[in-house]
């Protein structure tokens, strides 16, 4: 843990930094953002963060699955690739 207690003054800075970062995390996570009540506890924020990251990982897996079926072959012919690219840009 960075910021070991060498003096009481030093650790208060670390606490502040951590609190601030935790609040930033809270803003990123949609679950906690929706409620907007007040600052959620740090442990809850961490828990939701872990869940959120796991969800995102799972979504990447599912999307890769779908894409591997949709893109009939990796070597999509040039026209198809061009169409897809233009749709996305």
């Amino acid at each position: 843990m960075s910021g070991r207690r060498s003096g009481s003054g030093v650790s208060s800075i670390s606490d502040d930094q951590i609190t601030h970062l935790v609040s930033k995390l809270q803003q990123l996570i949609p679950e906690l953002c929706a409620r907007r009540s007040h600052k959620a506890s740090a442990s809850k924020v961490l828990q939701e963060t872990c869940d959120y990251i796991r969800n995102l990982h799972k979504e990447v897996e599912d999307l890769s699955d779908r894409l591997s079926q949709l893109l009939a072959s990796i070597d999509t012919d040039k026209d198809q690739a061009a169409i897809v690219r233009s749709l996305l840009m």
């Binding site: 843990m1 960075s2 910021g3 003096g7 009481s8 003054g9 030093v10 650790s11 208060s12 800075i13 670390s14 606490d15 502040d16 930094q17 951590i18 609190t19 601030h20 970062l21 935790v22 609040s23 930033k24 995390l25 803003q27 990123l28 996570i29 600052k39 740090a42 442990s43 961490l46 828990q47 963060t49 872990c50 990251i53 796991r54 995102l56 990982h57 979504e59 990447v60 897996e61 999307l63 890769s64 699955d65 779908r66 894409l67 591997s68 079926q69 949709l70 893109l71 009939a72 072959s73 990796i74 070597d75 198809q80 690739a81 169409i83 897809v84 690219r85 749709l87 996305l88 840009m89």
Partner: protein, 274 residues
């Protein structure tokens, strides 16, 4: 503004919460009058904050307290700037990712003409992850760790990863500028200032204080921290503040990756229907 002894001190705005716990007791509870919105330039946020600091100085708080608060503000502003900069240009991040991803996919195309679905999925996922990591151009720890992991000796898909990354001459030189570098320097400076002022602080009598909420620190030294570390690539090497900074960046990148993949999937579906 109410004055209550031995209460933690809060400066809170609707979007950003700064909480400061003070050791010695001149506590004041107040909030900024007109909270600025997220889109306001950081300079005006600074002005707002300094305005409230002005009020504090009138109520005769000690100088080192003021300094510590200013240092904290500088730190939080730097983090805010980084996060905002990353979020301000999500579109360019997505473009960068897409470009690298398609490049990686094309590099894999030559190997086998008819890949199994399983292999295809592996290629897609790996190239997406590698593209996301290289879009960060080595500025963050997790991206470096992800790429290093992919080309590690014991990895089964090492050749695939190397193919995706391209010839060694094309690979980006990893800039060893960690995300928290600025914050780290500021932290050192603030430590020095606090050391100097600790002498002054000791002369101020401490009122008996409520139990210091080191629970936040304790939370991070727990099982959840282990879980978080296991989720983020290269997390075992990160600690404390840098862990959370890396988490922030990782979440932003993951979101961009999911968005791009999702839109590609729906676009492909449209193309396939025709």
């Amino acid at each position: 503004m109410a004055q209550t002894p031995c209460d933690p001190r809060y400066i809170s705005r609707s979007h950003h919460c700064f909480s400061l716990e003070q050791i010695n007791g001149v506590p004041t509870h107040f909030s900024l009058i007109s909270p600025p919105s997220l889109s306001e330039p950081l300079s005006s946020i600074l002005i707002h904050f300094l305005g409230s600091v002005e009020l504090l100085s009138l109520s005769a708080t000690s100088f080192p307290l003021l300094l510590s608060r200013l240092n904290f503000l500088l730190f939080s502003l730097s983090i805010q700037e980084q996060v905002l900069a990353r979020m301000r240009s999500p579109f360019s991040l997505k473009q960068e990712f897409l470009k690298k991803w398609i490049l990686g996919l094309q590099r894999c195309r030559s190997s086998k003409k008819n890949m199994s679905i399983f292999e295809r999925k592996k290629v897609i996922k790996l190239s997406a992850d590698v593209a996301m990591a290289s879009a960060r151009k080595g500025t963050t720890c997790w991206s470096r760790a992800l790429i290093a992991d992919a080309v590690k000796e014991g990895n089964a898909d090492k050749h695939l990863a190397e193919k995706i990354l391209g010839p060694a001459s094309e690979r980006q030189p990893t800039k060893k500028v960690p995300v928290g570098a600025m914050a780290y320097n500021k932290r050192i400076r603030s430590k020095k200032i606090l050391k100097r002022s600790s002498v002054i602080r000791r002369t101020i009598k401490c009122a008996p204080q409520a139990a210091r909420p080191s629970s936040i620190v304790k939370t991070l030294v727990g099982k959840r921290r282990q879980i978080l570390r296991s989720l983020i690539p290269g997390g075992e090497f990160m600690n404390g503040v840098s862990l959370i900074e890396e988490t922030l960046d990782y979440i932003i990148s993951l979101r961009a990756q999911v968005d791009v993949m999702r839109s590609l999937a729906s676009a492909s579906k449209l193309v396939n229907l025709n």
